[in-house]
Symmetry: C2
Subunit: 201 residues, 2 copies
């Protein structure tokens, strides 16, 4: 039996969304499962001094173009959100609570639905009503979820999770760890594939 691979992502990251549509099939091709780790790039960027891509001179306009091109090349539904980037505490905390309450499989399903809502369906995932609605569509108790997402234990858990991610060297989204080997970016999925196949590159 082999260990699951660790998938770190921020809900405001388009490349994280693209990766979320592919990571499970990639892992499954090599007999692996996926542990989903929502994190907050804003906190990570305080450590690294980085800034959100879209806010950078030259790189910002380019990245908006690259998001759309990447989505088309991989045939992933994508519509540039009106509000972008956004703060993703609510979505991340909600995912943690779904995992605690309904199990890891449901949390992954919820995370994918939240990503899709934001990056393909034009929905505002900073809005508790929207997030409760996504939950309800998956037979998750939306009201309980919104309550829990504002609770001290869940807030604390996300804080600990983000600190742990930084400790493991996570500095971007998506970020994948395979048996300790770090891969940053949707554009490293070819390297992940090679590594999963051969245990090295």
């Amino acid at each position: 039996m082999t260990a699951p691979i660790d998938f770190y992502f921020d809900f405001s990251s388009p490349y994280g969304y693209f990766a979320a549509t592919r990571i499970e099939a990639l892992a499954a091709r090599h007999g692996r499962s996926v542990q989903w780790h929502p994190m907050l790039l804003g906190v990570v960027f305080k450590t690294t001094g980085a800034q959100p891509l879209p806010l950078l001179p030259l790189k910002g306009p380019y990245s908006l173009r690259d998001f759309e091109r990447t989505a088309r090349l991989h045939d992933i539904a994508y519509r540039r959100p009106e509000k972008f980037p956004i703060s993703t505490q609510l979505a991340a905390r909600a995912t943690i609570w779904v995992g605690q309450t309904y199990g890891a499989g449901k949390a992954a399903e919820f995370a994918k639905a939240v990503y899709r809502a934001y990056f393909a369906e034009g929905r505002d995932i900073t809005d508790p009503d929207a997030v409760a609605g996504i939950a309800a569509s998956l037979d998750i108790d939306g009201a309980a979820l919104v309550d829990a997402a504002g609770s001290a234990p869940i807030k604390e858990q996300l804080k600990l999770d983000v600190e742990a991610a930084i400790q493991r060297g996570v500095f971007g989204s998506p970020f994948v760890l395979v048996d300790g080997e770090p891969f940053w970016g949707f554009d490293r999925f070819d390297q992940i594939e090679a590594w999963l196949k051969n245990g090295s590159i």
Copy 2:
């Protein structure tokens, strides 16, 4: 007849080196030639506020690992240079002079040899003697090249070239423009391939 594609690179960029080993074959598969544009990331970074990858927290150590992995995945000879990053004025100016004196084909040949010397053969391409030696191996007058690289007109030409690159939105290395469409990174060669094939993605 179709226009050449524009290939921008800094001699201190490992991903630029990787790209330089593949760009001509990629272009040729689609009936294109390549215009080689040496540039200076240091100047570009003053505009964008970016910093050399290896100096960034977390991202720095990761990138050193990614350079080696990428080289192995694509079967490109690579040895991490002792001195890295370096200033690349000399190599860039020398390439401009080779282009003016021996033509664009020779300049491309020279650029590839300089990259290989730095990233595969452990040679110091900030050293005029080393650069003259690379030139001599290609039947280029090494002494004249070193003289010219220190001359006012060549310095001015590189300055103009870098300014023009920034004007065209170039912010990293490698950076490729195909009929005005910008692609940043060796990991966008799949997108360049798709674009060259279909004229869009």
